[in-house]
């Protein structure tokens, strides 16, 4: 039996998680960490959807979460493939190496 969690607290948690993820994306140099932070942000969004769905008693929030889950899976597979390529070509996972496109 699940404990009932008040929706506002769920939303607050989602916001905190999202910010944590965002700060990670902005400060980390290792691309694997950046990818994981993006995952955190995605899941924070998912949590926000579910909480909002619970607050207004709508199933749409959970439907959206399933969408996000599927999309996150696709994104990770592409992202990991890119990281492998990056490691192959640059022998590094530091995003600051990837600045050849600057003006």
């Amino acid at each position: 039996m699940m404990t009932h969690i008040p929706p506002n607290e769920g939303l607050l948690l989602a916001a905190i998680l999202f910010l944590l993820g965002l700060i990670g994306v902005m400060t980390r140099r290792n691309i694997i960490y950046i990818l994981m932070c993006i995952e955190i942000m995605l899941n924070a969004c998912g949590l926000a959807f579910v909480s909002a769905g619970a607050k207004w008693m709508q199933a749409d929030g959970q439907v959206m979460f399933i969408f996000i889950l599927a999309m996150a899976a696709a994104e990770v597979s592409v992202g990991l493939a890119l990281i492998l390529q990056m490691h192959n070509q640059h022998k590094s996972v530091d995003v600051n190496v990837l600045n050849q496109l600057k003006d």
């Binding site: 965002l22 994306v25 902005m26 995003v95 600051n96 990837l98 600045n99 496109l101 600057k102 003006d103």
Partner: protein, 632 residues
Amino acid sequence: MGIYHLLWLIPALPLLGFLILAIFGLKMPNRAIGIIGCASIGLAALLTIIIGINFLTSPPTGNFYQQTLWTWFSVHGFSPAISFYLDPVSLIFTFVVTFVSFLIHWYSTEYMRGDEGYPRFFAYMNLFVFSMLTLVLANNLLLLYLGWEGVGLCSFLLIGFWYKEQENCYAARKAFIVTRFGDTAMIIGLFLLVKNFNTLNIQDILTKAPSLWQPGATTAFWAAILLLGGALGKSAQLPLQTWLPDAMAGPTPVSALIHAATMVTAGVYLIARMHVLYELAPVVQLIVAIIGAATLLIAGFSALAQRDIKRVLAYSTISQIGYMFLALGVGAWSAAIFHFMIHAFFKGLLFLAAGAVILAMEEEHDMFKMGGLRKKMPVVFWTFLFGSGALAAIPIITAGFYSKDQILFFALASTKGSFWLWLCGFVGAFLTAIYTFRMVFVTFFGEQKKEVHRKPTNSIKIPLIILGILSLIAGFIEIPKAWGNFAPFSSLMNKVMPQVQLAAGMENKEVLLEVITGIIALLGVYLAWQFCLKSPKVLYNFKTTGLGRFIDKFFFKGFMFDQLYDIILVRPVVWLSKIDKRDFVDRIYEAIGNLGLLLNKIFSRTQNGYLRWYVCGLVLGMAVALTIILFV
């Protein structure tokens, strides 16, 4: 009714041909290009003939058929449609355009053989036919203007077809710029019509105009004269005639199709189409007649002194269109269109035959270096003779006699005609006979000066023969009233055009006039024979005198119009642009450009290649956007 629904196919087929040739032309073998180029026009011609027979045997109600494909655009109740309008006038034009074009395309498959621009040539030609058909079938003036500019563009592209020689490019640009003067006048005329009628539908304008304007109203005058400006440019009439002789720089089939048979008569079509406007502006109609008369004389005199066989034909084209304008000016609408049709046959023929001669002479244009080709090229000689006979209006046996004689009669007998207009046309007929047969005698008689290099093949001979036969017999569909009551052409035209008003007591003068014109034409031929073959010494001696040299040069240069325009237009513009190289307008545009460069320099520094920087930008932007949404 069924067959009329295929009307849209007539312009669509050449367009399809153009698209195929333009997209895939470079990868196709020449044979396929020739087949596609000809077939698209041939099918259109066939369809026109079928629709035409239908139209003649069982005319649709009101003698017109209209097919609206879609609305082009719609702004404030002004909504021109992509819509085709078929009535006897556009039927005749469509028939001539498709039929003559088909023969010329066929001829071109041989004429252009071995040219590296083979696919380009046929693509342009098909595009031209499409534009011309749009022009004649359009039900509103805006669509007509689209076709009008389309043919202008194709004319430009084809005059400069051999663009590697700079002279050809100059000629192309000259044609484009000179006709632009007329087209500018025409588009202003269209604006005026939209302002007054809020529509450009031709039939609507024609029915509303008489109730809106009194005869002689000022607005009607301006509308008519502005449209006339467009017609003058396209049809190479005074004072915008100077581009046509130079347009001969293009390949000969182009001269035959665009600069003789079809495009240059677009002005005639426009005026005939808008005939109600011109009847409401009698002053402009008189101007049309005077311009026609003056042009035919000037061009006739100029043709006398030319040495290039194509330039003789170019001046004769200007002169013959002058006749059509004369007919329009005296209200003989049907006669003008009749002369257009006959002229398309014989002038197309003359150019094609001249092209065959030029091919045989290895691109030699000077007819005084040819001579004696009668025996070597019999088919070309005979067809050229038929065409020349029609051009010179040799009585009874040629088609040109029937059409030109009708115009001369109406120039005198119409209520809008006068003795002076007739006299100009009469002198013009005399000149026509002289310069035409001068050309025949110099090219085909006398001693041969150059070997025949390339014999004409069947694709050249057959179009020549078909057009040659038409140049002889096509006139019989309009027998003069004095001879008998057989005039199916004008009775077809008069279903949609007003009949010419004859002045009192003129009916029985027709025979007398015919006899005089016939005699003058034959006299012209005799003079040409006398001075070009029998005793050329006389002319030669005259040309060595001071006066003779001056007249020869004056006529050769086409009354010095080029030199005149050079002084009053070209040089002032060049001078102005020279002294005004760095004016403040340039500064404004330079400043705009520099501002762009400066901004570019600033913003390009933000693109530093660090992911972190971009994410920060994203977050900052989002924060600003959220703040605005939530708190403002």
